[in-house]
């Protein structure tokens, strides 16, 4: 086996893992605060992808810049989904919540299919094929850029939660909903903003993925699953766990392609999830 290839796969997986981290961060934030699992997470991500893709087609603006618009649009979508659906099911038994969120996921996935069609598309973006060589190891430039931006956005989310008033309100509502209500927090609004931030993360991540992989409405559900796996690995509701878990799953999936056909690489992450659920259901950083 070629050592350079292995190193390259690890680096490639690690960089991809950064984007996974951002996706999972959104899911974990939503779960940590609202205690609702966003089963439509990957399906909302493809909307971020298609928005960036459409902007690229119409204006030629690269997804690395238009991710701001994707994130903004997904913030609004997330805010609306929270207000219309999630807010009404927040007190329901978990089983009913799952059903409503699956319904939401179906609407997003197939809505995208109706608008943009079922075919796979790979838009030609400016950096798509450029790469950097370090010795024998090749690094995809778009992947590196996506990784850096994803980590930057994740850091911004952390800072936002730590230092702004809204961020503090979000954290306090997560810690103690009743307490936050008693001191006059508009918890419904805080929840909606939080859901919006979670989906904005995944919208930005979607834009970052446009140059990295062909897009189709049906890549949404696998991403929902991957983000669940990461969040379970890192610990439900733990933001650090989501970031670390994302990197681990990214590397694991990439290294798995050495000994499995790449269409089977998901088996590795699913098995990882089953193992974590059975052995340490709270995850690596779970409380």
């Amino acid at each position: 086996m070629n050592l350079a290839l292995v190193v390259q796969l690890i680096i490639g997986g690690f960089l991809m893992g950064g984007v996974y981290s951002l996706i999972a961060l959104g899911l974990s934030l939503i779960f940590g605060v609202l205690r609702v699992i966003n089963f439509a997470h990957g399906e909302m991500m493809i909307w971020g992808m298609y928005i960036a893709y459409t902007i690229l087609l119409l204006t030629g603006i690269d997804p690395f810049f238009s991710l701001v618009i994707s994130a903004g649009a997904l913030f609004i979508l997330g805010y609306m989904v929270q207000r219309i659906v999630v807010n009404r099911i927040i007190e329901f038994p978990e089983a009913m919540q799952v059903i409503a969120m699956i319904g939401t996921a179906l609407i997003f996935e197939n809505g995208a299919r109706l608008i943009w069609g079922p075919d796979y598309r790979s838009p030609a973006s400016r950096f798509a094929l450029s790469s950097i060589w370090i010795g024998k190891i090749m690094i995809d430039f778009p992947r590196l850029l996506a990784f850096l931006i994803a980590i930057l956005i994740a850091a911004l989310v952390f800072l936002f939660l730590k230092y702004t008033d809204t961020g503090k309100a979000i954290r306090s509502s997560a810690d103690n909903r009743l307490g936050a209500l008693l001191v006059g927090t508009d918890v419904d609004r805080v929840y909606a903003i939080c859901f919006g931030i979670g989906t904005a993360c995944v919208g930005a991540a979607g834009a970052l993925l446009v140059p990295l992989m062909p897009l189709s409405p049906h890549i949404g559900p696998p991403f929902t699953m991957v983000s669940f796996i990461i969040v379970i690995l890192g610990g439900m509701g733990s933001l650090i766990g989501a970031v670390v878990g994302g990197l681990i799953v990214g590397v694991a999936e990439s290294v798995a392609t050495i000994f499995l056909p790449s269409s089977l690489k998901q088996i590795v992450s699913f098995s990882l999830m089953v193992a974590i659920l059975l052995l340490k259901p709270k995850g690596l950083f779970g409380r």
């Binding site: 329901f92 009913m96 409503a100 269409s263 089977l264 699913f270 059975l278």
Partner: protein, 323 residues
């Protein structure tokens, strides 16, 4: 209570005579109504009665279909025997998964995720097995005859499908009246309370899962010998799992008649709209409608259509405790 059985008997009589007036196309729609009603009922045994949501029931359909088909193709077993072996195979997988999940106390979303994970692993493995035709899928030879479970025309499938539905209704009704069924419901309503009065949660959840996975696999054999083509992305997919859960949820979970009512409402709509929308170039629109239906059911009538039907026919039956 007697009146409701009279009413059901009347409906059964109509269904037995109905094929006299149906052409092949309408018969085909009824075959799918029965198929999904049966699958929904199998899912209902686990989810409706014990409250553990499975989103991986397509796994058992696939196992049943592949085992009976492979046995028929390579060993020469009649699908009627292969069906039972397939059911046992599905029960084995289901029980392994259930033991892992329930032993470690996984509930709610965690259980949902583990069912999805098992189904997806199953689908990916099936997709890479050479004897199953890999990405090409598996074509089944057409050899009509009772022993081969294959027939010309839809009529025999209509009656077999109806037989499946009646079989599942009897199973569920017997369960409802038995101690097991009451334990299931007790576990659904409050697991801690049920355990504190001596209900063995692990055991009865495993029993529900075992019955459910065995019966689900039987439908796989039916599907294989009705469609004559198997592909993991159609028979072991998340999409099929969603089709399975949709009908009992809309009809009413945890009731014997809910899945059947749900299937009679949704399947014809789904079949018609699928073909109509596809022709008009709106592929996927029926799935958007499914999505809205699921959200609407949870938000506006979480007890399903059956609660309205019950209220509607209660005066006719002179009892509010019907069904």
């Amino acid at each position: 209570m007697a009146k409701i059985y009279t009413l059901l008997g009347l409906i059964l009589l109509i269904l037995l005579l109905l094929p006299l007036f149906l052409n092949q196309y309408l018969l085909g729609i009824f075959v799918f109504i029965f198929y999904y009603a049966y699958l929904g009922q199998c899912w209902n045994i686990l989810t409706g009665y014990t409250g553990n949501i499975s989103l991986g029931h397509s796994l058992y359909v696939g196992i049943g279909a592949y085992i009976s088909t492979m046995l028929a193709m390579h060993v020469g077993f009649s699908p009627w025997i292969g069906m039972v072996i397939g059911g046992l195979g599905a029960t084995l997988i289901g029980v392994i998964m259930g033991y892992l999940a329930f032993r470690f106390g996984l509930k709610n979303v965690y259980f949902v995720l583990i069912t999805i994970a098992f189904a997806e692993i199953g689908r990916l493995v099936a997709l890479h097995l050479k004897p199953l035709g890999q990405f090409m899928g598996l074509f089944i030879d057409f050899k009509p005859g009772w022993a081969n479970f294959q027939f010309k025309g839809n009529l025999p499938y209509y009656y077999i499908g109806l037989g499946f539905v009646i079989f599942s209704l009897i199973v569920v009704r017997v369960l409802e009246l038995s101690k097991w069924g009451r334990y299931f419901v007790a576990l659904r309503e409050d697991e801690d309370a049920a355990e504190s009065v001596g209900v063995n949660a692990l055991k009865y959840k495993m029993i529900a899962l075992g019955i459910s996975s065995f019966m689900t696999a039987l439908a796989g054999t039916f599907y294989a010998n009705y469609i004559f083509y198997l592909h993991p992305t159609s028979i072991m997919s998340m999409a099929l799992s969603i089709e399975i859960v949709l009908r009992p949820i809309i009809g009413g979970m945890g009731t014997a008649l809910g899945p059947v009512i749900g299937s009679f409402l949704i399947t014809p709509l789904a079949e018609l709209s699928r073909s109509y929308f596809a022709k008009a170039g709106y592929e996927g629109l029926h799935l958007v409608i499914y999505g809205f239906l699921l959200v609407a059911v949870v938000l506006f009538f979480p007890r399903g259509v059956i609660s309205y039907i019950k209220r509607g026919i209660a005066p006719l039956l002179g009892s509010s405790k019907a069904v």
